[in-house]
């Protein structure tokens, strides 16, 4: 036990910041909205000539990744304004973009930057701007006649990128009416077979940058799942030779074992209120879905069938769960209602449907669907049963939906490598996030974090 504790301590202490991950755009789409994002001006009283990151590029990459926007190439920009007085509306109307983002970064002192940026609609003659310097929070104030207010904030080196994602969220929401999900994180497992602890659990920003290793092990790690508040991760670890469910507090780096029953312990899923954990245990002979009350640790068994029942996922209202079962002979999605205990089969099309998750609106699910060409992500409308195949990749698994329901991150194989990829909810824009080193899998998108 002492030795185990020591190992845990060592692995927790060795939190490391990692190299940045390269991003590739593979598929474009023609109905994305054109938007001009002008490189931000930089001012400094010291000898520093460039800011730590390209604020405008982070915004542009975020918006592009959503599949809803197509940022104009920098070479094609007619002008480089950095304040509203410098904006020549005619030039931007000729470019025929829906909106322009421009801004300025000023180094106030070493490592402290003032960042200001505006979003404007060149076709709106009444576009006027007010400056609001806020502290701590930066809510978007949209007004009827123009789109967005000037933003002005002070950021440090440690939250520079994060604030660029917040900016992308603000712009996304102003232009779509939907909350942005760029200032979020993803948890994932990376396997580097040449390392002493090949199995590594990471948390990075939603664009793959700023990855922090939060746990590593000699043995496999599976199924990371975020608590609804984003403070904790539940995951499956084989560190003691077999699968157990661990809960780790991200800020305090505390770990505890939640489930270590005989047989396997797998597929943790927090209830939307954060008070319960759905999980799959084979302690009674075969895999069944249980709900654990996290306060009392009491288990309530949800399924009773000799088949495989696994991959529970909560409906947003917390009143039902979908799960995978091969009780019909092949893996298919079923739904169980907690009040009545009624279980209904949900999928009928395709020989293999598994790993389903609800969209935030609760009306549809996304799942792994086997077609004649392989394993793809597919969405199914729960009202009319209609299925749409979303991905062209063919070994897809471990999907996780962005908290605003706009994008899905999943694990797939690209060439010979196991990689993470994102796809827009309509399946029309996809982008792999290749790792620089080992194989990457089991992504889990965080809830909204602010």
């Amino acid at each position: 036990m002492k030795k185990f504790l020591l190992i845990v301590l060592i692995t927790l202490v060795s939190l490391t910041t990692r190299a940045e991950i390269e991003i590739l755009i593979t598929e474009g789409r023609d109905d994305a909205r054109p938007i001009a994002i002008v490189p931000f001006a930089f001012e400094s009283e010291s000898l520093v000539v460039t800011p730590p990151f390209d604020f405008a590029k982070i915004i542009a990459d975020d918006l592009a990744r959503s599949g809803k926007f197509k940022p104009t190439a920098i070479e094609a920009l007619p002008d480089r304004p950095s304040s509203v007085e410098e904006v020549d509306l005619i030039k931007w109307r000729q470019l025929s973009v829906d909106a322009i983002v421009y801004g300025k970064v000023t180094e106030k002192s070493p490592g402290v930057y003032q960042v200001s940026y505006d979003l404007l609609d060149p076709f709106n003659d009444k576009a006027i701007f007010e400056s609001e310097v806020e502290e701590g929070t930066y809510p978007l104030v949209a007004q009827a006649q123009h789109l967005m207010l000037l933003k002005d904030k002070v950021v440090g080196l440690d939250n520079y990128r994060w604030n660029a994602h917040i900016a992308a969220d603000e712009i996304y929401e102003a232009l779509t009416g939907e909350r942005g999900a760029f200032a979020t994180q993803i948890a994932y497992v990376e396997v580097n077979r040449h390392e002493a602890n090949p199995y590594q659990l990471f948390v990075s920003d939603s664009d793959g940058f700023g990855a922090q290793r939060i746990f590593s092990s000699r043995r496999p790690i599976m199924s990371p799942a975020w608590s609804p508040g984003g403070q904790k991760l539940a995951y499956v670890s084989f560190e003691n030779g077999r699968s157990e469910i661990i809960v780790q507090n991200l800020a305090k780096a505390e770990r505890s074992t939640l489930a270590s029953y005989k047989g396997f312990n797998s597929a943790p899923a927090w209830s939307p209120d954060g008070n319960k954990m759905a999980m799959v245990l084979s302690k009674d002979g075969n895999p069944e879905i249980y709900i654990m009350d996290l306060a009392t640790k009491k288990l309530n068994r949800l399924t009773r069938h000799y088949s495989i029942d696994t991959e529970p996922s909560w409906s947003p209202d917390g009143k039902s769960l979908v799960f995978t079962s091969d009780r019909g002979g092949r893996p298919q999605i079923y739904r169980v209602f907690l009040d009545s205990g009624e279980t209904k089969r949900v999928t009928f099309e395709g020989r293999y449907n598994a790993g389903a998750e609800f969209l935030p609106n609760g009306d549809s699910i996304v799942m792994v669907h086997q077609s004649t060409k392989g394993f793809h992500l597919a969405s199914q409308d729960l009202n009319n049963g209609e299925i749409s195949i979303l991905t062209k990749t063919s070994l897809d698994e471990s999907l996780s939906i962005a908290p605003n329901g706009s994008m899905i991150i999943y694990s797939t194989v690209n060439g010979r490598q196991k990689v993470l990829s994102t796809i827009s909810m309509d399946g029309r824009f996809g982008m792999p996030i290749p790792s620089t080193t080992g194989e990457v899998k089991a992504p889990a998108w965080s809830p909204f974090l602010r």
């Binding site: 396997f264 598994a354 790993g355």
Partner: protein, 174 residues
């Protein structure tokens, strides 16, 4: 290295000849003529005995090979044991019973499908092997079942040949 090995072999060979020669010189030589060789029946019996000995040796090495083999492979999304493994598992079971040895059955799946479903599938496979071992007399307490799902592939790769080698149960003696 090869040359060194050759030299050593030669030296051993030479020593053996010398040893044999020395031995022969110190022993009395039997000059009795051997007119009566073995009869046809004797020869046939000798040949049969030799064949039986060879067959027994072959059988012993076949059994040893089955005992040395510790992996059972499965079909895609299957947990049914192929009958070709029945004898291998019977032999393992007999040895486990005779020697009171314990085994961990590690169930694995290929990468297709979801990791959580595959964890369940790996356990099912390991349990299918456990069931057969129990049928052959192994006690429940001698068997531990662990599933690794698709997390611990035997072979890297994303094609049929890699997948076939990854759908497996490994018998690990403790």
């Amino acid at each position: 290295m090869k040359n060194l090995l050759k030299l050593v072999t030669l030296a051993v060979f030479a020593l053996t000849i010398v040893a044999c020669g020395t031995k022969k010189e110190t022993q009395p030589v039997d000059n009795t003529p051997t007119n009566t060789g073995p009869t046809a029946e004797q020869l046939a019996a000798q040949r049969a005995a030799e064949e039986a000995r060879r067959a027994a040796a072959a059988e012993a090495s076949r059994i040893q090979a089955l005992l040395d083999s510790t992996t059972v492979y499965f079909g895609y999304d299957q947990d049914v044991l192929d009958s070709e493994y029945t004898e291998m598992l019977r032999l393992h079971a007999e040895r486990m019973v005779a020697e009171g040895r314990n085994v961990t059955l590690e169930g694995h799946a290929d990468e297709r499908g979801t990791p959580e479903y595959n964890l369940a599938l790996g356990e099912r496979r390991a349990k299918a092997v456990a069931q057969l071992l129990r049928t052959f007399g192994v006690a429940d307490s001698q068997i531990e079942v662990v599933s690794f799902g698709e997390e611990s592939p035997a072979v890297m790769g994303h094609d049929d040949s890699a997948w076939a080698k990854n759908r497996r149960v490994e018998l690990n003696y403790k």
